[in-house]
Symmetry: C4
Subunit: 311 residues, 4 copies
């Protein structure tokens, strides 16, 4: 291909095909998730329930559990009510509504296995259904235990990326630079970065992908911050291109970082992308202040990775 300064570059296949979408479409959302929705197997078959329960927000998850708890108690209370309140010992209410409510409480006492026993099943059918409900309760809470463990133990991306990607002075030339830091107190180790540029080829309107060389593509620790630098030398597909031209070609810089969560020795994959609107020229990053506090600890303010100044 000849669009970059009359030179040829090797394309990379990362799995997004070569179709070009309208310019506002990103390959990655701001949270690093892939901007693709799969359909075609029927309404629910593309959904994996466990993954869905793991990935919905904590607020939604709690809401879901409470809703489910309400529904299942109403469901069983209705069955019990149809059997008749006289199938249960300890129900002294006389109005149907009070009896129904008492049976809701009884249902909740059964499904959570709290079983006070001031209300208890007397008739055979009521006893059998209560027996099934308590089994169901144990199974449900076994599932909830598993999902909760799955939720908080799964390796989560805790990287913070600088808001902008800079074209800044680098040695004698320029470099494409961004910074990352770990937002959390636990350590990320054995970190590796891969940076891919995707661009529209104006001649055939196809998407093309190029891996960008990095000055340093792995660090053992992400203890402070990491400035990832692609030197824009004459081998770079960015060489000699202005930000205007990058905009015209709808450039997106895709970042893939893999590290290891030091607490659990589990791999963590982080993704981020910068659209050409996030590029800045003639600026440089301000080095992070690293101080030693009175405990002898090196203190770094991760939020400062965004800071840059005009050259």
């Amino acid at each position: 291909m000849a669009i970059f300064n009359g030179k040829k570059y090797n394309e990379t296949e990362i799995g997004f095909g070569s179709k070009n979408y309208r310019d506002s479409v990103r390959f990655f959302n701001s949270d690093g998730s892939v901007n693709v929705w799969r359909t075609g197997l029927g309404k629910l078959n593309n959904i994996d329930i466990y993954h869905w329960l793991i990935k919905i927000s904590l607020k939604n998850f709690i809401f879901l559990v409470i809703t489910f708890y309400a529904i299942i108690n109403i469901f069983f209370a209705s069955i019990y009510f149809l059997l008749g309140a006289n199938q249960f010992g300890g129900i002294t209410s006389v109005s149907a509504l009070d009896q129904y409510l008492d049976l809701i409480y009884f249902s909740s006492q059964t499904i959570t296995t709290v079983g006070y026993g001031h209300v208890y099943p007397m008739g055979h059918i009521a006893s059998i259904i209560a027996s099934i409900q308590s089994l169901l309760g144990l199974l449900i809470f076994a599932i909830i235990t598993g999902v909760l463990f799955g939720r908080f133990s799964r390796p989560k991306d805790t990287l913070l990326y600088s808001n902008h990607i800079l074209i800044a002075p680098y040695r004698q030339i320029k470099g494409l630079m961004f910074r990352v830091a770990n937002k959390k107190q636990f350590e990320l180790i054995e970190n590796e970065a891969k940076v891919v540029m995707t661009t529209k080829n104006p001649e055939n309107n196809k998407r093309e992908f190029y891996t960008l060389n990095l000055e340093i593509d792995r660090v053992n620790f992400l203890a402070l911050s990491w400035t990832i630098v692609h030197p824009i030398d004459d081998k770079s597909p960015l060489f000699g291109l202005s930000i205007d031209e990058l905009n015209k070609r709808d450039v997106e810089i895709i970042i893939l970082i893999k590290g290891v969560n030091d607490t659990f020795s589990s791999s963590v994959y982080s993704r981020h992308s910068y659209k050409s609107s996030q590029f800045k020229e003639n600026v440089r990053f301000i080095p992070l202040k690293q101080d030693v506090d009175n405990r002898g600890k090196v203190v770094v303010s991760v939020n400062d990775i965004h800071l840059h100044e005009t050259v």
Copy 2:
């Protein structure tokens, strides 16, 4: 070996030996499982109970839990009944059957730890057995919790393979092509493919295995679909062979794909195989429609990976 156009190819050892079976025998079932059954250590010693509980269908698992629940309650109720209903407080039934049923309910209230208490153990032996049963209940539900978590958290193969494998035009020559897509909404990353052809050698009636070169054998994302292509150039063991000849040699194409489940950073192994009856010639895949929906998401219909057209 000389059966392929008078050229020699290096054999691959993937672990299936060199014995040739009758033509209808596949090395892999359609769900990707290996078509082998191991015996020789006594009836149950080849079974690992935990693996078995993990792999049986959800329907069978639920059936098993309910059956087990019924049996264990009948078992303990029988012991309690032999001890005598007068060992228990709160049993007002007079007929033996009613008493037996009451003891079944009591057993279920004990093993689930719901313990209403309208029936309770009074005698020493009854109290001790109930105490053991409630311990047993906790252990059993600890196991069920673990098995349920094991069931839904284990990395599952969610790849969809095109129904056919095509011998389609590829650049100036032909290529062996099939397509895969992820059926689910979560992402598979760092995907690697290995394709092995197994064929009967007509001269010595032995099985032989050959690794097929792939145009691209790894992609970072399996976001849309992936067309895996083996170029049938003069270095390919498929070069110049007709589908008829592939049939005669009982060719099976074995596909091994390894990826990483992006939600859990866990490795996923997928397997598939195509028998020669699934080959098609003089056709090509229809590119998948990739649209952008009103949320700005790229939408792809995974079921379309099967679609192909005559050239």
Copy 3:
């Protein structure tokens, strides 16, 4: 070193030092565990309780749980008894022994959270202790749930090794051969083998370790059986040595196999060792019978991997 046919071989460091023990000492036990006991940090500091609970036999684990359950109930019942049975409602026994036993049952009903309630704490101190006991019960069963899950989900070595290691005809020369098979129905994939020979150097009485070249050191599947072959060519440290000489040098063949459990995508490490008494000469393995049963499955009897015949 000059002990092997006047040739030099490169030693391997696998981590067992170079000290030579008396001949009956193995580096590996027959179950693959390393035959080393570490001391020096005080009686219990070398033990990790979780690992210990994971690795003791199921029988011992069950015994431990029951013993612990008995002791903790006796402990709490003793406290309750010291407080006085009149601190509890529902105790109608008059003899001290009966009261003590009733309190044991109450304790077990509290710790398992079954809580029938026919006996219940009335006094303040009794209520507080019962409240603490039920918390303790939940924590203990949380731990037991975790340990049980840890026990059955941990990757276990399920390889069966042939009883003998053979020096058998191999192409034009001889080969050192043994066979392995997976005892269980689930699959082991991506298997890799490393074979190390350790020998006493008669000149300086030191242990030496040599990695042995293998004909094939990895297979994708361990579906049937795998014959691992070290060709005894003139580059092998075994070349020209008789079994008598191997005995004199107290040779131990150490085998390290790494695979992936296909159900959980977890790595499995298997170890085995053969002492020179397990060598056999002038025999060869009988190929395993592989039949197709009426379900179309390839059936293999893993126990047949031991079978060999005189050449």
Copy 4:
């Protein structure tokens, strides 16, 4: 750079930047944790609660659970008390304090699901709140189960490092040596070591990092002890430097060891660092005594790895 004997060495990037702190600041604490504190996202946003619960000491964790249990019971008891003790059946106390205490016991019986039932909710609001509390109890104990499992199943660093790092005779030259051993009875396999020296460059007052060559950088087993040796030949950045000079340059030797816990096949990362005050010259390690006990086991006292003697 010219500070080491007029020779140039390649610097290593491990992720700690090039800023030099006052000499007493270590990069690693004695427990191997990284000596960095991240701030900048608001008081709590740098904390991950799950990681925090996993990493606090067992004593603090137990204290936390008990405190939380007390607070939540006081909280619910207060709500119940505000509703009025007459909303509950079975409360016979007349003084407000006794009623409040009874409601605390009731709360604990509800949240642990022990539910004796001698006290039980009668009014509608009390029943609903008790029903919510029992749900909350199950969720909380699901979380505690997960955290406890996370705590004891996470791969922990169990390496013991010798107190000193020695500059000892090694073949014809000298070597930098330290010893490691596994403190626990389970095995660590597939161990790999990386050793990095960090030093102050007196010319520009910057930190520099150099990877040190190792004689052997991996062993299959860490069964006994492992002496890790960096030969101080003329290619070493330590060549010709006295301990005094190392002190002046505030040298810190950083050790990264990765192994696999053999019981769980999980990766374990261990870190350690030696400051120049821990260097010793003209001494050598005393070989560990390895005896065979009456069970035929090789016994090694790991605490002896510290022992050294004057040359």
